[in-house]
């Protein structure tokens, strides 16, 4: 359907207006102006912030420069989560632009993975794609692709090339007609209220009897508290790509259209803000 293809573009080109400011304690005599940037929802912080680094290096003494890392309101931001997921999880209901603090010292070893080059991001990205395909196709599609095809997926993301990316990614979104969908749906459910980083389990797109599973069915199984019962006020927002899809939406459709380039459906559950 023509409409569905538009969804793919809307997801790919989603942007978050962000304001980067240097951590106060690291500011030296040279004033560091805040730096504004539109961040792609589907990319990773360390992949798209070279300009940010260049800008703030001017204000910091070279001997004080270690690995750059980001923080929002005291929480170190995990670069290996897609940017849109970080925003939805931490700052969705706050005023734009998203205000991120930049650090060059005191890297939080216990909280963040190191990211010393783009090849680390590539390895992480491809690892997610491989895991997603293990769930969807028992790794058959990804293993049938050549090295240059894998490279094309990465280059498409790195260079923000929708067509280049989807020329390959569409293969990962196919399934045998008789199956009716993927083997299992690759998803992760995040919530800020728990110690556990995310929930990820096996879940099929349809029941053994052939009933299509919806977003509501997934939540009923993985996080039943997120579904308000009749008459009760809604306690939680359930977000995918920054929007709240209807709970009746088929999971297979969500997986094909609202996944991130890593082929995972990233679902954020937030408590409804009390004004």
């Amino acid at each position: 359907m023509a409409d569905d293809k538009d969804v793919l573009r809307d997801v790919w080109f989603g942007r978050i207006p962000t304001c980067f400011a240097l951590y106060q304690d690291e500011v030296t005599e040279k004033e560091a102006e805040p730096f504004y940037l539109l961040l792609p929802r589907v990319s990773y912080l360390t992949l798209v912030t070279d300009k940010v680094k260049k800008h703030f290096l001017k204000a910091v003494k070279p001997e004080d420069v270690e690995e750059m890392w980001f923080e929002y309101e005291g929480t170190p931001l995990k670069w290996h989560y897609p940017i849109g997921v970080l925003f939805d999880l931490h700052a969705l209901n706050t005023a734009l632009p998203w205000s991120i603090t930049v650090h060059f010292k005191n890297f939080p070893e216990r909280d963040l993975l190191h990211c010393l080059s783009n090849s680390v991001i590539e390895a992480h990205f491809m690892s997610c794609i491989k895991e997603a395909d293990a769930l969807k196709h028992k790794s058959q599609v990804i293993n049938d692709m050549q090295k240059k095809d894998h490279k094309q997926l990465w280059m498409g993301l790195q260079n923000d090339k929708f067509d280049q990316f989807w020329a390959m990614n569409r293969k990962l979104m196919e399934y045998p007609t008789e199956e009716g969908g993927f083997r299992y749906i690759p998803f992760r459910i995040y919530q800020t209220m728990s110690d556990r980083p995310f929930i990820q389990k096996l879940f099929r797109p349809a029941s053994p009897e052939g009933h299509t599973h919806t977003l509501g069915d997934l939540l009923k199984e993985m996080y039943p508290a997120a579904i308000a019962h009749d008459g009760d006020a809604k306690k939680y927002q359930v977000l995918i790509q920054g929007i709240e899809p209807l709970l009746e939406t088929p999971l297979q459709w969500l997986s094909e259209h609202l996944s991130h380039p890593d082929n995972f459906l990233h679902v954020c559950i937030l408590p409804v803000p009390t004004d």
Binding site: P62, E63, V65, E66, E67, K78, H80, E109, R110, D111, L112, L113, H114, L116, S117, S119, V120, E122, A123, H124, M126, S127, K130, E131, A134, L135, S139, P186, D195, R196, P197, F198, Q200, K201, L202
Partner: protein, 213 residues
Amino acid sequence: MAGAGSSGRSIGRTTLISHSEEGYLKKTSLRSVTITSNNAAESGVPEQADPHPTLEEKLSAGDVSSDVRSDLEEDDACVQAAASGVVLQHEYHVLFSCSFGVPVLYFRVFDLEGRSLCLEQVWDIVRRNSRMRLQQSPWNTITQQEHPMLGQPFFVLHPCKTEEFMGPVVRAAEAENRKVNYVVTWLSVVGPLVGLELALSYSTLLQPALCPQ
């Protein structure tokens, strides 16, 4: 026999940690290991200013805390630090990957001040422990990843090739009508790469566990 570059006995305790209905196996051990200095330039990683003294420098500066030393002696483990050896705490977790249907080994290594080793230092230890070269592809090697239950950085031996080497073992055992403990067998292959040696008693005393489907 521990691989080149490590000496001394391992003091370890294996515990089963339960977190709701999913759990993981955890083992910590203290071992003396020889660490070479950071080879950042060789591995093609852009050089970063390293403000922290290397572990070797700290040891030679007499930085190993004395109460840890006396604990070790009490346990009669007699960890013999090699001339340039450093005592490190190793923590190993075995989790099950539902995506790949195989167990996965997560580990981290700290000095006695709680500072973790970096990836280059871990690769160095692994290189000296492995008799076969780990393939260069990033998916088969050791990378830093987030522990799925603790949310903290760990090193991980990527699981996607596990089925390749475990498959024949399981099938051979089935053909001979012999039981195989999947986790112990798997761990006996991957463990030594990262300094995790299993005592023989693991194989002789444990009931064989069910093989994953």
